[in-house]
């Protein structure tokens, strides 16, 4: 249990970190270390190991969703293509959208947060780490279920937003939509618990001295995002539960014949679905703020304005959902309100963009790959924002609703707004994850192929949409004249695929042979760079206290250290919410296999309930048993805890 090995020596350091605190590192990690071997890997509660596998899994789903997209582009590359039939095509676009939204975009942002946020706030682990392990397993099993369903020809086929009545019992025969509804349950359970963990980590586990105005901008974005998830995700859970009840036990929520309403589905779905766009986008903005600050070599301009913009975006995002429903019979006055709200939300986004421009303008820019991706983000997002303003206008929306114009718009916003900053973030934090830098030359190829490929793939879709090409058709006739632009678009899609392949090669190569990073290869300012790369179990030995917003850039930014915390049992310092003064110690949960076992029991319940409502009754028994096993303390633990106990 007790690993007595000394902390790994920091490799050759690319630049001296002048303000490294002159304290000796602890000689051992005590209760922070994992058990060895395979069982140890399955029972880890270290946020870094969980975060890393969360990131890798979400990226694997990104690749799978990308392969589905490539198949669709292959089919659409020429008119009257008979490569893929309509039934499979329906499953492909549904699974593609579902994967990208529920298995990639939201989870990977949370996964990055699970890794980075505790380090950035100077904590030794994430709050409720066993729950983090559970959240990861449940997410993984849900994703595997979706792809198992697709391979068995029961992949969902009613679109990623699964509108009723198409997805209801009358038209959605078989089990396809049930797999979709349960995938939602899996991913939402995972997303919700991670949000609670992030909020508690940010509220209560910050380093002493990290008052509210010293919280890094990325951490602010993750905080706002987590709050949004807490208030938005229950809507899709209630919706998908109602859908599966309609299909399984004959309720009538969405059945107009018995007093239900199909449109109720759209309200519930988009009450979640529009905020969802922002909880993909806001963490992207956090990456941008971090990377812009580091590579402009100065603190980001307008900290307070940016934080307030983030919070404003979080609120406005809940007032936009009806703009997805302009083509339905909602009242005209309501449409005007939602048009106005959709325009207003551009203001806080623009505020941030101007702050970043000011930062870059007045900084000393260092051109590295992460910053390239951020510049790509600017260009693509602005284009996506412009088409967003077009779509927010009701008359225009009615004209181009359900055409490829919308496909172009949403990919400009989501890939531009989230995936480009995400790739920038991969390049930026990879050295922290692995101790080695990603290769710069491959990185530039990766960026340029992605940037060019993206625009070649998606820009023509604007024109195709304006020419009237509808979404979600598996083929089109030659005399429509859509063939050439579709071919160009498909070529762009394969350029993106090549670029992602290069990224994977870069990761595989650099993880073994990349340049040694040392603690702080970019000369960055935040706390995660004040510990080794990769950080040891328990992150900070000893934990630090800060006295500045950019602790590694400011003289005296690292104001002190925390002594007197035990390593066995592992202990953490809890600080107050507003001004981060020390409140108490807390003994942290140790590694255990129970979260995995509980996740397996939960998976049996969720998948069983696709087929029979009794699975909820009988399936809850093993879930309860595993949760009790998880909670039940051992005699050893209790004695250990009592030894270090001080009553309040």
């Amino acid at each position: 249990m007790t690993a007595a090995s000394p902390p790994a020596a920091a490799g050759p350091v690319s630049r001296p970190h002048r303000r490294e605190p002159a304290f000796e590192l602890r000689q051992r990690y005590g209760g922070w270390a994992d058990k060895p071997g395979f069982l140890g890997a399955l029972s880890t509660v270290d946020h870094k190991r969980i975060g890393r596998r969360f990131i890798v899994s979400a990226f694997a789903f990104f690749v799978l969703g990308g392969i589905l997209a490539a198949l669709m582009r292959l089919q659409l590359a020429r008119p009257d293509s008979a490569l893929i039939g309509p039934d499979l095509y329906n499953q492909l676009f549904t699974t593609h959208g579902t994967t990208m939204m529920f298995l990639f975009a939201v989870p990977i942002m949370q996964a990055m947060a699970v890794y980075i946020v505790p380090l950035m706030v100077g904590a030794r682990n994430i709050a409720f780490p066993r729950l983090a392990a559970y959240a990861y397993w449940i997410y993984l099993f849900g994703g595997v279920m979706l792809y198992a369903a697709l391979v068995l020809d029961v992949g969902p086929d009613a679109g990623w937003f699964s509108y009723t009545p198409l997805a209801g019992p009358e038209y959605g025969v078989g089990k396809r939509s049930d797999f979709w509804a349960q995938l939602i349950t899996f991913t939402e359970v995972s997303g919700l618990v991670v949000s609670v963990q992030l909020i508690v980590t940010i509220f209560k586990l910050r380093a002493p001295g990290m008052v509210l105005t010293r919280i890094p901008l990325l951490v602010w974005t993750m905080l706002v995002t987590s709050f949004m998830i807490i208030f938005a995700m229950p809507a899709v859970m209630v919706a998908s539960t109602s859908l599966i009840l309609d299909r399984l036990v004959g309720t009538h929520f969405f059945n107009p014949a018995e007093g239900g309403d199909a449109l109720l589905w759209q309200h519930l779905f988009w009450f979640f679905g529009h905020p969802e766009v922002y909880f993909i986008f806001l963490p992207g903005l956090g990456f941008v703020s971090t990377i812009v600050g580091t590579f402009a070599r100065r603190p980001v301009f307008g900290y307070v304005a940016i934080v307030l913009s983030l919070i404003a975006t979080g609120f406005f995002a809940f007032g936009l959902w009806v703009h997805h429903m302009f083509a339905t019979n909602v009242p005209e006055l309501g449409k005007s309100f939602f048009t106005a709200a959709s325009m207003v939300i551009a203001i806080p986004t623009a505020t941030q963009i101007f702050c970043w421009i000011a930062t870059l303008w007045t900084g000393r820019i260092v051109w590295r790959t992460p910053l390239l991706f951020i510049v790509g983000f600017f260009l693509i997002l602005v284009l996506g924002g412009l088409t967003g303003i077009m779509l927010a206008a009701v008359p225009l929306d009615l004209q181009i609703h359900d055409t490829f114009f919308v496909v172009a718009h949403l990919h400009y916003v989501l890939i531009g707004g989230a995936v480009f900053p995400l790739f920038g973030a991969f390049y930026y934090w990879f050295p922290k994850f692995t101790g080695r830098l990603l290769d710069e030359r491959l990185g530039r190829w990766n960026f340029w192929l992605f940037f060019i490929g993206f625009n070649v793939a998606f820009f023509p879709m604007h024109i195709l949409g304006l020419q009237g090409m509808p979404r979600r058709i598996y083929t089109y006739a030659a005399d429509t004249g859509w063939g050439p632009l579709n071919l160009i678009s498909s070529l762009g899609a394969f350029t993106i695929a090549l670029s992602v392949l290069l990224f994977i090669v870069n990761v595989a190569w650099s993880a073994k042979r990349g340049l040694q990073a040392g603690r702080d290869p970019w000369g960055a300012s935040t706390l995660e760079w004040a510990t080794d790369s990769p950080p040891p179990p328990g992150n900070f030995h000893p934990p630090l206290a800060v006295a500045g917003r950019e602790p590694l850039w400011e003289e005296g930014g690292i104001a002190g250290r925390v002594d007197g915390l035990h390593d066995d049992p592992p202990e953490l310092l809890v600080t107050s919410l507003l001004d981060a003064t020390p409140q108490h110690r807390i003994v942290f949960p140790t590694p255990t296999i129970w979260p995995l076992v509980a996740a397996i029991a939960t998976t049996v319940l969720f998948i069983g309930s696709i087929f029979t409502p009794w699975a909820i009754v009988w399936g809850s028994i093993p879930v309860a048993i595993t949760l009790i096993g998880w909670f039940w303390p051992s005699k050893d633990e209790t004695l250990k805890h009592r030894k270090v106990e001080v009553k309040p």
Partner: protein
Amino acid sequence: MTAPVTPFADRPAVIDAAPLPSFAFGHKSLMWWGTLGMMAIEGMAFALAAVMYFYIWSRARAWPPDVLPPELRWGSLNLLILLVSTIPNEYTKRAAERFDLRGVRIGLVACILFGIAFIGVRALEFTTLNVYWDTNAYGSAVYLLLGLHTVHLVTDVADSVVLAVLMFTDRIEGSRFADASENAMYWYFVVAAWLPIYAILYLAPRWM
């Protein structure tokens, strides 16, 4: 409890955490915040289920459509039981916060007895709703609201049983008392959630 060293010194300062308490009650505790987060999520789910109820109502010509509203007696009895249960609940919370093991044991057992009583009455409630989940959309909405609340009742009583059993073993440490205090907070949430749900299911169809 005093904060030992100010972290704002201009040169490295040492914060000695050893004399600090090793757990805390209320808003200083991580689990208190975690519980609050779960309450926010579940409260949102309750609110949305209520929204669905009224949305379906807005689409109906009469309410309840073609059936009688749920009978008042069992639901109202449960309202009473839930309100009275806050007395042993508050007793448990206070006992926990003064580390009174005997008091916590007595309080938890009393809470569990109340819990069993209203799960029993809840079963009777389901028999007097005058509608089934598959009768019409109104019935579906009623079952969703009542079902959601019942899940919370059952899980909270199960939680309390586990905690109570633990309190009778030798696995007791100081932070168990914080657990008991937070368990009581969650029980207040389940009680508080019932007030609007009761009003929606039983009173609104009669008075609105």
